[in-house]
Amino acid sequence: MNSIGWRISPSNDRKLLYSKEVDMARKYEKSPIVEVACEFRTPSTAAWDPTVPGLLYEKFRDDFPTKEQKPVHEILVTPSGKELKQEIRSEERALFFSEDKKSFIQVGPRLVVVNALKPYPEWPSFSATIDKVYNALAQVIEVQSLSRIGLRYVNRFEIPKENSDLKDYLALYPSFGKSLPESLPGFHLVCSWAYEDGRDVCRTNLVEVVPDTVGHRGLILDFDYFLAKPETVQNKEAMKWLEKAHERIEDLFEGCITDRLRSIFKEVK
């Protein structure tokens, strides 16, 4: 959707430019977004101790007052000389929930994730929460650089199964040759898009899932934009990086769907 107005400079120097053609994010009455998540991981060399989750909770407790824990099992493989060192690790991840439980923060060793569930709070509100959490993290531990930043948008929607083809609704879809079997209980399509000379990657997953409505096909369209080259973004650049990540996810999302699917989402004009 093009319009006349102000926009932020694409060079990301936060300058406002006036333009006759500004790409405005489309808004949908029936937004397919079921979850957004923003993840920060600090390098293994960064300081972290078991008191950090408690210190962070003190910073978040007004907005995220309810505490829970969740067991998480991780398997890590790290290069050790010419061999791979495997480590099986179990941890209790701390979860801090908002009062309505629609958003929460996960804190694990060198990891902070901000999640928001449906209904999507819109980017300005979600990015403000991320900013607040990230600032709190920077107050509690010294953050020089990040080993990973990730922004993830999970979309879930359903399309009629009969008399319709995936390509009627999606511009990104798997193609099945005529000689392949027709019985296909499900599929999973993964594409990775590279940005900034490979520093950033957006992994896009299109997955068939169990539908709620009989006669429909349930689909997940998931965008996982992340820093593929660890420690190449400095502390102060993190929020700028996220703005760009969000912009690219929006562009990819719009690039993946057709007007027919937009009509199901009911675009707000």
Binding site: E35, A37, K70, S90, V210, D212
Partner: protein
């Protein structure tokens, strides 16, 4: 070793019916690798475990470079993956939308629901219908998940068996925000 792997002792390796607590570290590592391979083949959602699978050339392109951390799993994907896996195991889900809603409000309960469903299938699957449903109590304004065991003809020992399976998970249930239990409404299979 069970502690190191983080796997609860009651979870059973279904291939050999051997409690994980009885496995040594090498066996657990091998078991987990197999699970990972299986899940990543079927469920590349599990990128939070993907580092280890970078060794597997067949799916190497799906996983990030070695040494790079992987995305923390969004809870919505975890719920979708669990619903799919339990259905594939033979559990009915008459209203997936209700399960999704409940688990998104009780996110630390998702894994336990899956574990209980598998335990129910293992114990009752061969002779009964197993159905995961949301129970809503109007009287107490409460709701929780039930794994209903339904048979054409009810055996006298069924309730005792159900209690036996439920009791194994008492500790886990007390540490999560949601509630799930194996039960029966004595109705015929639907």
């Amino acid at each position: 070793m069970t502690e190191a792997a983080g796997a609860p002792a009651h979870i059973v390796d279904r291939r050999e019916s051997k409690p994980l607590g009885a496995l040594d570290s090498t066996e657990v590592s091998s078991w987990l690798k197999e699970i990972l391979c299986r899940q990543l083949t079927a469920d590349p959602f599990y990128f939070s475990w993907a580092d280890i699978v970078s060794e597997l050339s067949t799916i190497a392109e799906f996983v990030p470079p070695l040494g790079m951390s992987c995305s923390a799993q969004p809870v919505s994907l975890e719920v979708e993956a669990v619903i799919r896996r339990i259905r594939e195991a033979g559990v009915l889900t008459p209203s997936p939308i209700e399960i999704r809603k409940y688990l998104s409000e009780n996110i630390n309960t998702t894994k336990l629901v899956e574990t209980l469903c598998f335990a129910a299938i293992e114990r009752f699957g061969a002779r009964a219908q197993v159905s995961l449903e949301l129970f809503q109590s109007r009287e107490y304004d409460d709701e929780y998940l039930t794994i209903n065991i339904r048979q054409e003809r009810y055996e006298p020992e069924l309730m005792r068996e159900i209690e036996e399976v439920n009791s194994v998970f008492d500790d886990e249930l007390s540490s999560v925000s949601g509630w799930v239990q194996i039960t029966t409404d004595f109705h015929p299979p639907r």
